[in-house]
Subunit: 272 residues, 4 copies
């Protein structure tokens, strides 16, 4: 049986995934930015205003955070969702946030324009199926040792329930290399374009784990054909409660946006 996600021959164009007014998979390159975790109203607001000013068109921010240790900061939860809701209203930016538990879907759906499935849950099949039943867009991150085939099957769990609004997000895989947090599989971008009709994102923040490498790898992603980028931005990365090492500050994010534009143009895309 031909998977819904793989019907590339029947569908030449990339599926358009609509998140508020933003269209993912069209000619425009979509930049999603924001903090790893929502820490405070001020942190989220200042970041949202700044990334919007610099050209990002969607806001990310985690309210529920999967953490390796149960004793780490695990997010603001409902309070975080409320902050997200108010800032979305203020800025008009559509928001994407992670869901880890099928029981949180409704609550998160009140705020989020797009659900995010993190790497650790890429094969949490009950969660995928439940998201398939909503018609809300899903950003599906690659599992840290998932093959392209397994990843496409994970998308199929969502799509086979009737939801075709799926974006695949490469975020690096686990290898023996220790200088970087993960190894970005840049080839996954054109490979997925051959294998599926779904839009493909790149997250160079998790992919590299070092802020100094985020910008060149983001440019590489665009050159390789990514439909969008997901970038961690924090007002003061050195004080972040999670993933500070891989977050850009405002100045570095501005610098990235400056560099993105000509590369996008060079491969026939434009920033909005």
């Amino acid at each position: 049986m031909k998977l819904i996600a793989r019907r590339r021959d029947e569908q030449q164009e990339t599926t358009a995934v609509r998140v508020g007014d933003v269209i993912i998979g069209g000619p425009e390159l979509v930049v999603v930015a924001g903090p790893c975790a929502i820490e405070s109203y001020e942190q989220l607001l200042s970041t949202a205003l700044e990334i919007k000013r610099l050209g990002a068109t969607m806001l990310r921010g985690g309210a529920y955070k999967p953490r390796t240790s149960p004793y780490s900061f695990r997010g603001k939860g409902e309070l975080g969702l409320e902050m997200l809701s108010r800032i979305k209203e203020l800025t008009g930016l559509p928001v994407v946030t992670e869901v880890m538990d099928a029981r949180d879907i409704e609550r998160i759906a009140d705020v989020a324009d797009m659900f995010q499935i993190g790497s650790r849950n890429m094969q949490n099949y009950t969660l995928l199926s439940e998201l398939g039943k909503t018609k809300r867009p899903v950003l599906l991150k690659r599992g840290l040792a998932a093959t392209l085939e397994e990843w496409i099957y994970a998308a199929e769990y969502i799509m086979s329930e009737g939801n075709d609004q799926v974006v695949l997000c490469e975020r690096g895989i686990r290898t023996f290399e220790t200088y970087t947090r993960n190894t970005v599989d840049i080839t996954a971008i054109p490979a997925l374009k051959e294998l599926t009709h779904l839009p493909v994102f790149l997250d160079p923040s998790h992919g590299t784990g070092r802020w100094s490498l985020v910008s060149p790898v983001a440019l590489a992603g665009v050159a390789a054909g990514a439909d969008g980028l997901m970038i961690e931005v924090h007002p003061q990365p050195e004080l972040a409660l999670s993933d500070g090492k891989q977050s850009l500050n405002f100045e570095h994010f501005a610098d990235l946006m400056d560099k993105l534009s000509p590369v996008a143009k060079a491969v026939g895309r434009k920033l909005i």
Copy 2:
């Protein structure tokens, strides 16, 4: 903070995990056997009777099966649980079965003496926490690219909720080697013995993916200090609905049990 799972210095002995009458982590080597998936009452019954006759002391069998493709056989569900319940009564064997969704916990708890967390859900933190709130033993399989440290933290998610009845089960990690389904990390067994006070199992069936390799790798696990083994057994592996290639038939399982006994003895363990 010292993790509960790692208080090896305060606790010299391996934690005893009690599953029905079976004690895991004591001087006796525990063999859990049964089919990958429950396919029919007859299949499960004949397997249960045979493995019991040959010396296994616990029965495994999946009612809810995580499968890469949504179109594969995903288990008998509640019907499977009913079969498990009847056969448990008939044979007296305690049973372990996989839970993939927090909403199934109660239903599975009516039948299972031990919950199994599969590789794909090793970092499904909401599921781990919910199992922590039950006091039922948990067999926690290693994620397919999980470090020892991440695995121990996953156990801590269960233990920090008050449930110390956790068994770690090595089942192979993902590497570049393609001859085997996974690469058994045999060193994980003594390494976990240094790092934690939890009992450690080996699953050579998933670890190797080839029935002909199950037996030598099982012996290796015992020699390396495993507290128990988890072995897939099927009356007719060539007809199995899942994992047939790695399942032993009755004759091969009998042969394995014959070989296990002297190796267990050689390292100071005994079969029951």
Copy 3:
């Protein structure tokens, strides 16, 4: 002790490696192209003329080929070197070719402007040291499971003998992913720029193993900051004696060169 290869703080600029008239590590992006293995005079000549016409500035071609099986085609040997010599004279293109044995160095040095060390020999220390004693440039490919650190140490084996003309060439590492031949570690490019002052190349042909993915990954490499590319080109890839699947034909190579120019410009580089 600070490695010679890592004296980034003392040396802000990338080391200029001179191969004939070509400067690697300067503002110009260098494209090296040619067949995996030299098969015949006609094959090499037609390829050399075509890649030159399309803007490549160096010719590659293997006379001595490391092959997994001793029974595979292992190159034309000295005959291949002679062809390389004649075609170099005819076209004026500097040439790079692989050396696998210290005893071949002199013979190859008569023809080659640059030595190539392949992945399998990245830690062949006697070979590295011998090349260090020549002052000829060396293209050092990454070992298939080498960390960045080990790779830099391999360069140090050459440099510590007095030869600073070393170019590092990323060609993909080995991971669990099977859709591609190797996994291109795109982040290695900016990471090496942080860690060393040596020029960095990308070989998207070996990196991906599929011709259809070579072009987008080549563009990604340029966007990430590579100083050059190494591309396998063959007049009729479907008839190639080695690596046909990953070789571009002339039409596809022309298409790549067309796309390269704007991306190079977007990141402040130019094609010659």
Copy 4:
């Protein structure tokens, strides 16, 4: 074409490899022990006498050492060979030592009963071919990211030159796990027994990188069917010039030999 190394169907028995009086691949388990690197006459002599007393039947010791950094201790060279020669005469133990350069073969052949090819040179094809032309036994270690298939092909490079005296030595592969130096692929032992007729060794010292894990993994190797073990032993591991962390002192080696005997017996092998 059927590889010479894989003619398992034509040859039921494991190839007997003869090193002095020692037969590898027969009913007896062979233990090779000694220091990673030869550091002094006293160090090598005391180790040789002690391992012999405890039941090892071959001596290992590196005179030429491949080291990641060119500035690390790279072995005593010819002086080391002389020491090896004198101690071989004194103790009667056959010796195995590493060769890294085809130009050293003759010199090493004067002393060594068996050549060792290290991981970094597993695909150094010119070296393999040259060793094939000698009729001296070769211990061929697995490359750190070599598949079983590539490893068998490497053996074929030796065998196709007429030398069938090859022993394959598993020494761990490179994975994401950082607690251990490498990941021992224990399944490789029975897998190679299916695929080839060559004897198989395990090196748990390099495989684990931690002395405390050497003993349980050595026992696992024997239980899995290894024909022999290669163990690093040093009079004072804390003072060793290389690999001290993974070397056993005499007491720990004695303890391992005590434990080996019953496990060997349990799988139908005996120590000499």
